[in-house]
């Protein structure tokens, strides 16, 4: 095993289930149990669960919490009701992305939970501290104290209600959450990263282990990071490091709807305002090639004459759609739907065209 790799609280469960384990974001994580295709289809047709305990939980509280979160976050939390969740990004002054995250408006006044990518926890926490001057807030990185299981798929509601013995889970709307008391605090949120209905359940490491076993007994398929990526990709969801980075702005990534430019200010706003007005040099698009060959991250996107106009960021032969599709960052001049583009895959060049990024029709609870 590599040095300094962390283990999630469910590590022993993964090993006992025979998962193929691999380093990801500083953690030893399950990539697959039975196979990526099986697990992908379990989530699309029934229900699967993911250990996402590696994700970061950072709590913000204090008299200036709302004003502070709005300063570092692209979406608008002003007046947000307790129990609501917003997706958005933290930006550098350049408009590049520090991280994409979920912000939970807590039931305690002046309190927020920020859920960030595992690979960025340390960087994000420092970024938050560095940008807190002048705000009366407390910033608490509690990532090590929380486990998290994502239960995803059309049968997720039924199985979560049964396992928790809590019918209230059924009435949670998309992007809302509830606290659940069971001798300790659990957070149950109607969110996910698969394009299906589902829940993300935050609990202590001990409770997370009990829940994992209970979901397993209830017939929920354990799913690894392999299909987490194929699922989020089909649903048109970006992954930090692939579609978002310090060098890619939300406007370039097509995520402007999560950036509220009518707010007085937030870090990076000026650049986004300018990009919205003037356009960007690059844009993230969906691309399909008319072949079974698979476009992978890093492969060049070209015009018919071989001129390079972009690069693939994520690509698969889609399991649910049986199409060879990818996200690609291309020159904006070639970003319109239907534009013919070519992808170089090893020694061959495959024709294709720009298509919508949401490849798969998502099935979220309203």
């Amino acid at each position: 095993m590599e040095d300094n790799l962390k283990l999630t609280c469910l590590y022993d469960k993964h090993v006992a289930l025979g998962a193929k384990m691999s380093p990801f974001a500083g953690y030893m994580m399950p990539i697959q149990y039975t196979g990526i295709t099986d697990e992908h289809l379990a989530v699309r047709t029934k229900v699967g669960m993911f250990d996402v305990s590696h994700m970061g939980e950072i709590f913000i509280s204090g008299p200036d919490a709302e004003r502070y979160v709005n300063h570092i976050f692209t979406n608008d939390v002003r007046g947000l009701d307790a129990g609501k969740i917003l997706y958005g990004m933290m930006l550098y002054p350049t408009g590049g992305v520090v991280d994409d995250l979920l912000v939970y408006k807590e039931f305690t006044p002046d309190s927020f939970l920020l859920v960030v990518n595992a690979s960025n926890i340390g960087k994000d926490y420092l970024w938050m501290l560095d940008n807190a001057a002048g705000f009366d807030v407390r910033i608490d990185n509690a990532s090590e104290e929380w486990g998290q299981i994502a239960v995803q798929g059309p049968d997720a509601e039924k199985v979560v209600v049964d396992v928790l013995g809590w019918p209230g889970a059924a009435s949670l709307g998309f992007y809302t959450f509830s606290d659940f008391e069971c001798g300790e605090r659990m957070i149950i949120s109607r969110t996910g990263y698969t394009g299906e209905d589902g829940f993300e359940i935050y609990a202590s490491p001990e409770m997370t282990n009990r829940l994992w076993d209970d979901f397993l007994k209830a017939g929920v398929a354990p799913c690894g990071l392999g299909c987490r990526d194929t699922l989020r990709f089909e649903a048109g969801l970006p992954l930090y490091g692939d579609e978002l980075s310090a060098d890619i702005t939300p406007v370039e990534a097509g995520l402007s709807m999560f950036c509220k430019l009518d707010k007085d200010e937030f870090i990076g706003k000026d650049v986004l305002v300018r990009q919205k007005a003037e356009g960007t040099a690059k844009k993230l698009v969906g691309l399909e090639i008319f072949d079974k060959a698979i476009p992978r991250a890093g492969y060049p996107v070209e015009l018919e004459d071989g001129t390079a106009v972009g690069v693939v960021t994520t690509g698969y032969h889609s399991i649910s759609l049986d199409r060879s599709i990818c996200f690609a960052l291309v020159d904006s001049a070639y970003s319109r739907l239907g534009t013919p583009l070519w992808i170089r895959i090893r020694k061959k060049v495959f024709p294709g065209e720009v298509v919508k990024k949401r490849f798969y029709q998502t099935n979220y609870k309203k």
Binding site: I31, Q32, G35, I36, T37, H40, G226, D229, T230, K292, A293, I294, R296, Y316, H317, I319, I345, R346, K348
Partner: protein
């Protein structure tokens, strides 16, 4: 434990060769297919393409990864296994029965660099 067949020659990049006169029938080993997992696409050259010993002539793709195929011999492709275009999973089902390309060899002495089954068994584990 993966299957290894006696009488074939093997490369250290996990291709096998069956010699049929001047023609090398080339596939991947059972070990290689097991390492890849579910194969979803086999990228193959075309008939009359030249291949060079040690250089890639195509690739196997699984959902998550692609793995290049290296030619164990030099020569000209005389046949590709078209069945794999529509059914790449055949390689998973039987990696030895489902060859990938046939190459008319330009230098049969290159075969001397390949391993026999016993030697290959040492590296395929």
């Amino acid at each position: 434990m993966s299957k290894i067949i006696e009488g074939l020659l093997y490369s250290d990049s996990h291709e096998w060769v069956k010699v049929d006169g001047d023609v090398a029938v080339i596939g991947v080993s059972d070990f290689a297919q097991a390492e890849m997992g579910d194969i979803t696409y086999v990228d193959m050259p075309e008939v009359d393409d030249e291949v060079t010993k040690g250089e890639d002539f195509g690739a196997l793709e699984s959902v998550k990864a692609s793995s290049e195929l290296y030619s164990p011999v030099s020569g000209v492709v005389v046949e590709v296994n078209e069945a794999l275009e529509d059914a790449p999973e055949l390689v998973n089902e039987d990696a030895f029965a489902n060859w990938i390309i046939k190459v008319k060899m330009s230098d049969k002495s290159e075969l001397d660099d390949l391993m026999d089954a016993a030697a290959y068994a040492e590296i395929a584990k």
